[in-house]
C-alpha cells in the first residue's frame, strides 16, 4: 500500500535541515503501523509525504501503486480524497459547518448531490456513535466527539489508507482509549491500512508494527507484540 524508496526531505538551502534521510519503507494492505519518535524526528514529514501534501527532495513515494511524484497537484488531491483518510491531532473540522456537513464535505467536493452526500454522512456518523449529534457544530461537541466526526470524515470514502497524526494527542486518556478502540474496530471492518504517528505507547499498542524514527532515520522497525498477540488471539 505504501512504498517509500530512498526518500530524503530537506528544508532550506545551504546548510539545509534534513528532516528525513534516505528512508525506505514498505507497508502492506490492512497493516497497522505506528510511527514513533521524539519531536523533530521526522514523523510528521513522513506523514505529509505519504499523503501528498509534501514532496520528497529525492526518492520515490508510492501509494496504492501510484508514484506521487508523477502526479499533478490535482492528481495528488484526487488521490488524497479517494484513497487516503486523514485524522489530525487538532481535529481540523470547519467551525462553521455542522458535524453532518463536515463529514459530507469531501463527498460534496467530489460532486455528489447534497442529499446523497448527507445521507452517507449521516450513516457514517451513526457508525461512529454520533447519531444524535449530527446537527451540532464543532464548538458544541466534546473533544472525543469532534475526533469521532474527524474519523467519520476520514472514512467517508472507505479509503484503503488511513493516516493519523497523533489522533489522541488532544484527548484525555479515557476518551483517547475510546477513540483507539473505534479506530481499531473500523480498521478491521474496512480493512484499511492504518499508519499512525503517535507518542502514545498505548496507541502504538493497537498496531501490529512500530517504526521508530530518530533524526530523520528509521532506527527501529519491529512487530508490536500486544497487537500481534491480539490479532492472533
Amino acid at each position: 500500500m505504501i512504498e517509500l524508496t530512498d526518500v530524503t526531505r530537506s528544508y532550506g538551502t545551504g546548510s539545509a535541515v534534513l528532516a528525513l534521510k534516505n528512508i525506505s519503507l514498505s507497508v502492506g494492505a490492512a497493516e497497522r503501523v505506528a510511527v514513533m519518535g521524539p519531536s523533530g524526528s521526522g514523523k510528521s514529514t513522513l506523514l505529509n509525504l505519504i499523503c501528498g501534501l509534501d514532496e520528497p527532495t529525492t526518492g520515490s513515494v508510492k501509494v496504492d501503486g501510484v508514484e506521487l511524484s508523477g502526479l499533478t497537484d490535482d492528481g495528488r488531491t484526487r488521490l488524497r480524497r479517494e484513497k487516503i483518510g486523514m485524522i489530525f491531532q487538532t481535529f481540523n473540522l470547519l467551525p462553521t459547518l455542522t458535524a453532518l456537513e463536515n463529514v459530507a464535505l469531501p463527498l460534496r467536493l467530489q460532486g455528489l448531490s447534497k442529499k446523497d452526500a448527507e445521507g452517507r454522512a449521516s450513516s457514517m456518523l451513526s457508525h461512529v456513535g454520533l447519531k444524535g449529534r449530527v446537527i451540532h457544530r464543532p464548538d458544541e461537541l466534546s473533544g472525543g466527539e469532534r475526533q469521532r466526526v474527524a474519523i467519520a470524515r476520514a472514512l467517508i470514502f472507505r479509503p484503503p489508507l488511513l493516516l493519523g497524526d497523533e489522533p489522541t494527542g488532544n484527548l484525555d486518556s479515557h476518551t483517547g482509549a475510546e477513540i483507539l478502540r473505534l479506530l481499531d474496530d473500523l480498521q478491521q471492518e474496512y480493512q484499511s491500512t492504518l499508519l499512525m504517528v503517535t507518542h502514545n505507547a498505548e496507541a502504538a499498542g493497537y498496531c501490529n508494527r512500530v517504526i521508530t524514527l530518530h533524526d530523520g532515520e528509521i532506527v527501529n522497525d519491529v512487530p508490536c507484540g500486544a497487537a500481534v498477540a491480539r490479532g492472533q488471539g
Binding site: T90, P106, P138, R153
Partner: protein, 853 residues
C-alpha cells in the same frame, strides 16, 4: 502601549503586511476624498474672495441691489454722505465675444479717472496711462483690454474688438492694455474696462448702476458709515463690506458645497467600516495571542490600549497618506466645482490653485485618527474582554456570536423609527447639525441591525448558493450566517456605498420626473430665445426691441418678454420671474395651484398679486393669501400671494410678477428669455431658423424649440448633478476597495479552512471558487442590505436633504430597476475584486495552514 506590547504588535504587522496595508489604505482613501473636497471647497472660496478683492480694489464698502442694479441717482446720495472719501459706480457685464472659440469677457464699466484710485490697473509700460484719454472718453466704443486677452487674440491699441451687446454686435476700439495683475488677474485674464456711461448704453442698463464701490474717510469708521448709508438709502439697496460680497457668492453655491461635503463624510464613514472590519478580523486572527497575553498577566486595559494604539498609528499613517493623495485630487475637484459654479450658478471666479491649509490638514488628520479609533473601538473592547481560557482553546471551541440578539435588534429598529419620525415630521430650517443627525441616527440604527440583516439575508440566499455553488457555495454563505458580525463590517461598507448610490439615483430620478412635469406644464412656449447656453446670463440681456422684431414675424401669435433675476429677500435672496402674465396664464393656467382661479386671472395680469414657487412657499412657510414684501431699489413693494406654481430654476424660490410692475419698481427693462407662441399650424423649426437669421450678427441669442428647450433644461440638471455622479463614483470605488480589502483579509483569516479543505481532497480550483463565491455572496447580501438601507435614506434625501439643498421635497421614488441592474454590476465588480485574493488562497501552503491558528 508598553514597549513589550509594541513588540507584539510590530511582529503582527510584519506577518500580516497586506492586512495592515489594506486597513491603512481604507482610512487613507476616506481621508483623501475628505481632504480633496474640503481643499477644493477652500480653493473655490479663495477664488471667489480673490475675485471680489481684485474687483473691489481698495474699497471698504459696496452698495448693491442684487443683480438688478439701482438708479444712478443713488450715487449722489452716497457721495453726499459724510464720511465717504471716494465713491465710484460700477457696471459688470459678461459678454460674448464674436471671436470663434472664445468664451466670455468680463467688462467692468467704470469712471476710469476716479476708478484708478480704487483699483489697480497696471497699464502697459509704453502707455503710461490710457493711450489718449480724450479719445477714450469721447468714443463710447472705447475699451481697455487685459494684456492676456489681447495677446491671445493678437490685439493692439487701435484694433477693433467685436462684442455682442444688448443692441446687437458692435465693434469696440482698443484704447489701452493693462497687465495681468490686480484686476487683470480676474476671470483668467478675460477682462476689459470701459466707460460706465457707455456701458449703460450698449448693455441696456438704462440709468442704472450695478454697484458703487466706496472708501471711507479716516475720520469715519467703516461700521459708522455703513449705518449712515443704510439710513439714507432705500431698503432694497444693500451696503456691505467687500468680503461679505464674497461670502454672498459663497452662499449662492451652498447647495453644491454641501453636496460635496456630504460625499466627503460618506467616504470617511466607509473608511470607519473598513477599519472596523479589519480590526474585527485582526482580533479573530489574534484570538490565541490575546489569550496567551491575558494568561501571562497582561491586563484588559493594556490589551485594549494595544489595539487602540495600533488604530491610532494606522490612523496617523493613513491620514498622512490620505492628505498627500487628497492634495493632488483637490485640483480635479476644484476644476469640477469651478465649472459647476460657472455653468449652473453663473459665478465669475479667478483660477486659484488649491493650497495646503494647515487647519484642514489638522482637521483631516484628527478626523482620520478619530475614524480609525472609532472603527477599532468595539473590536478592541471585545479583545480586552476575551476569556483567556476560551481564547486558548482550539478554533473549533470558539463561542458563536450573539450579534443577532433581541436587544440589539430592538435598539436598531427603535433608532431607525426615531430617525424616520424626525425626517417626516420635524420642521425644516432647524439647522444642519440637527438635520444631519437624523441621518446619523438612521445609520447608527442600520449599523446596529447590520449583523441581523446580514444573518437573515445570508440565510435567505443559502439554499440558492448551496444549489448553485455546491459545498463551496454553502461554505461561502455559512461564514456569514455563523459570524454575521465578522461579515457585517464589509457588508456595511458595501451597504453605505450602495445605499448612497441607490438613494442618489432615486433623488436624481425623482428630480428629473419633477423637472419634466414642470417643463411640460410651465415652459410650454413653442419657441424660447435665451441669452446664454447656461441657465441664464447674470449680466448679458436682450433689449425689448428683440421681442418687437420677433412679434413682427407673420408666423408669431404672441411674444412674452421674461426677466429672470435674483433680488434680496428678507435676509436671503429670491428669484423674480417678471413676465407678461396674460400670456403666461394663457399657456399655463392649469399649472397654478391653490388660490381662486378668477382672482388669479383678474389680479395677476394687473400686477396686484404674485404667484410663488412651491419651494419659495416651503422656504418661507408662505401660503396663498400671505403677502410678499419686497424692498426694491425704488421703495417697498407689498403684494398678496395669489397661487403657487412649480418652478425649479432657483433653489431659493421664485416670485412670479407682472413685468410692468417689475419695470416700474426696478427701473429695469432687460429681457432674459423671449417666450414665443406660434400661430396654429406654423412649424417651430422653420420659425426657429427665421429667428436665427433675424438675430445673426446682432444678438447672442440661443433659439430653442420647445422640445430642445426641455432637453436643454435636462442637460443643465445633469450638469448640476455632475457632483452627485462624482459622489456615486467615489461611493463605488470605496465599496470596491472595501470588498477587495475584505476578501484579502478573509483569505488570510481562512487559511486554515482552505488548508483543511485541501487536506481532505479539495482542488485548488475549488478553493478559488470558494473565494469567488464568497465575493459573490458578499455582493448579493450587500445589494440586498444596501437596498433596505436605501429605502430609509431615500426618505431622508427626498425630504430633508432636498429641503436643505433646493428648498422643497421631491417625491419618494424607489429605484427598483437600478437595484436589479446593480446586481450583475456589483457581482462582476466583486468577482474582479476577489480575483487576486482567490489566487492567493490557491497558493496557501496546506501543511502550514493546517497548523495555523
Amino acid at each position: 502601549m508598553t514597549p513589550a506590547l509594541w513588540q507584539v504588535t510590530s511582529r503582527q504587522w510584519r506577518t500580516h503586511r497586506l492586512r495592515v496595508a489594506m486597513t491603512t489604505l481604507g482610512i487613507a482613501l476616506g481621508v483623501a476624498v475628505f481632504f480633496a473636497v474640503r481643499t477644493a471647497n477652500a480653493a473655490l472660496l479663495d477664488s471667489l474672495t480673490l475675485t471680489v478683492e481684485r474687483l473691489a480694489g481698495k474699497s471698504t464698502l459696496e452698495v448693491t441691489a442684487g443683480e438688478t442694479g439701482f438708479p444712478e441717482e443713488t450715487l449722489d446720495t452716497v457721495r453726499a454722505t459724510p464720511g465717504v472719501q471716494l465713491a465710484e459706480p460700477v457696471i459688470e457685464v459678461i459678454v460674448h465675444t464674436a471671436f470663434q472659440d472664445e468664451g466670455n469677457l468680463l467688462i467692468l464699466g467704470v469712471d476710469t479717472t476716479g476708478d484708478q484710485q480704487l483699483r489697480q490697473y497696471e497699464f502697459d509700460r509704453s502707455q503710461s496711462q490710457i493711450g489718449d484719454p480724450l479719445t477714450y472718453l469721447a468714443d463710447p466704443r472705447s475699451i481697455l483690454l487685459s494684456q492676456a486677452f489681447a495677446d491671445r487674440h493678437g490685439l493692439h491699441i487701435g484694433d477693433h474688438l467685436p462684442l455682442f451687446t444688448s443692441h446687437g454686435k458692435m465693434d469696440f476700439t482698443v484704447q489701452g492694455l493693462f497687465k495681468p495683475t490686480g484686476v487683470g488677474e480676474v476671470f483668467g485674464g478675460n477682462i476689459a474696462v470701459m466707460d460706465i456711461y457707455s456701458a449703460q448704453t450698449v448693455f441696456g442698463r438704462g440709468h442704472n448702476f450695478d454697484r458703487i464701490d466706496l472708501m471711507n474717510t479716516p475720520a469715519v469708521p467703516v461700521e459708522e458709515l455703513q449705518k449712515s448709508l443704510h439710513a439714507r438709502l432705500p431698503a432694497g439697496i444693500e451696503v456691505m463690506r467687500p468680503e461679505m460680497a464674497g461670502q454672498a457668492l459663497a452662499n449662492a453655491v451652498t447647495a453644491m458645497r454641501l453636496g460635496m461635503l456630504i460625499t466627503s463624510f460618506i467616504a470617511l464613514l466607509v473608511g470607519v467600516y473598513i477599519i472596523f472590519n479589519s480590526f474585527t478580523i485582526a482580533v479573530n486572527q489574534r484570538w490565541k495571542e490575546i489569550g496567551i497575553l491575558r494568561a501571562i498577566g497582561v491586563e484588559r486595559g493594556k490589551i485594549n490600549a494595544m489595539f487602540m494604539g495600533e488604530a491610532a498609528i494606522m490612523g496617523v499613517v493613513g491620514s498622512g497618506l490620505g492628505i498627500a493623495v487628497g492634495y493632488y485630487l483637490a485640483s480635479g475637484a476644484n476644476r469640477v466645482m469651478g465649472s459647476v459654479a460657472a455653468s449652473v450658478y453663473g459665478i465669475v471666479s479667478t483660477a486659484v490653485a488649491p493650497r495646503l491649509h494647515a487647519d484642514l490638514v489638522l482637521t483631516s488628520l484628527a478626523l482620520g485618527v478619530a475614524a480609525s479609533l472609532g472603527g477599532a473601538w468595539f473590536p478592541a473592547r471585545a479583545a480586552s474582554y476575551l476569556d483567556p481560557i476560551l481564547a486558548l482553546h482550539n478554533i473549533e471551541a470558539r463561542q458563536r456570536e450573539s450579534a443577532v440578539g433581541f436587544g440589539r435588534t430592538a435598539l436598531g429598529i427603535t433608532l431607525l423609527a426615531i430617525s424616520m419620525l424626525l425626517i417626516q415630521y420635524s420642521p425644516s430650517g432647524v439647522g444642519l447639525v440637527f438635520e444631519f443627525s437624523y441621518a446619523a441616527l438612521m445609520l447608527l440604527g442600520l449599523t446596529i441591525l447590520l449583523p441581523t440583516l446580514v444573518h437573515w439575508a445570508a440565510r435567505a440566499i443559502r439554499p440558492a448558493m448551496d444549489f448553485v455553488g455546491g459545498s463551496e457555495g454553502a461554505l461561502a454563505v455559512d461564514a456569514m450566517i455563523q459570524s454575521p458580525r465578522r461579515s457585517a463590517a464589509t457588508v456595511g461598507a458595501l451597504m453605505v456605498g450602495l445605499m448612497f448610490v441607490f438613494s442618489t439615483a432615486s433623488y436624481i430620478q425623482s428630480y428629473k420626473h419633477m423637472i419634466d412635469r414642470w417643463t411640460r406644464e410651465m415652459l410650454n412656449a413653442d419657441l424660447v430665445v435665451a441669452t446664454s447656453t447656461l441657465l441664464r446670463s447674470t449680466s448679458y440681456h436682450f433689449s425689448e426691441d428683440l421681442g418687437n422684431r420677433i412679434a413682427a414675424l407673420p408666423e408669431v401669435q404672441r411674444v412674452e418678454n421674461v426677466r429672470f433675476t435674483i433680488v434680496p429677500y428678507r435676509d436671503d435672496t429670491a428669484a423674480i420671474a417678471a413676465q407678461d402674465m396674460d400670456g403666461f396664464l394663457a399657456r399655463s393656467a392649469n399649472a397654478v395651484l391653490g388660490g381662486n382661479r378668477k382672482t388669479v386671472n383678474d389680479l395677476l395680469p394687473r400686477g396686484q398679486g404674485v404667484l410663488v414657487s412651491k419651494n419659495f412657499a416651503a422656504r418661507w412657510r408662505a401660503r396663498v393669501g400671505d403677502r410678499v414684501h419686497l424692498n426694491t431699489p425704488t421703495g417697498a413693494l407689498d403684494l398678496p400671494i395669489l397661487g403657487l406654481v412649480e418652478d425649479y430654476r432657483s433653489d431659493k424660490g421664485t416670485i412670479f410678477l407682472d413685468r410692468a410692475v417689475y419695470k416700474h419698481f426696478w427701473k429695469d427693462d432687460a429681457v432674459d428669455f423671449v417666450d414665443i407662441t406660434l400661430k396654429p399650424g406654423e412649424s417651430p423649426p422653420a420659425v426657429k431658423q427665421e429667428i436665427q437669421r433675424l438675430t445673426a450678427g446682432s444678438e447672442h441669442a440661443i433659439v430653442y424649440t420647445n422640445s430642445e428647450f426641455r432637453n436643454w433644461i435636462g442637460s443643465l440638471v445633469d450638469t448640476f448633478f455632475i457632483l452627485n455622479y462624482m459622489q456615486l463614483v467615489v461611493a463605488v470605488i470605496v465599496a470596491v476597495v472595501g470588498i477587495a480589502n475584505t476578501l484579502i483579509i478573509s483569505v488570510a483569516e481562512r487559511r486554515r479552512e482552505f488548508g483543511i479543505v485541501r487536506a481532505i481532497g479539495g482542488y485548488c480550483s475549488q478553493i478559488r471558487r470558494m473565494v469567488l463565491l464568497e465575493a459573490f455572496s458578499i455582493s448579493v447580501v450587500g445589494v440586498i442590505v444596501g437596498a433596505i438601507a436605501a429605502l430609509f435614506n431615500i426618505q431622508f434625501m427626498s425630504h430633508t436633504v432636498s429641503t436643505i439643498l433646493a428648498g422643497y421635497d421631491v417625491p419618494f421614488y424607489f429605484p427598483w430597476k437600478l437595484i436589479l441592474e446593480a446586481f450583475p454590476a456589483v457581482i462582476a465588480v466583486s468577482l474582479l475584486a476577489g480575483w487576486i485574493p482567490a489566487r492567493h488562497a490557491m497558493q496557501v501552503p496546506v501543511i502550514e495552514a493546517i497548523g495555523y491558528e
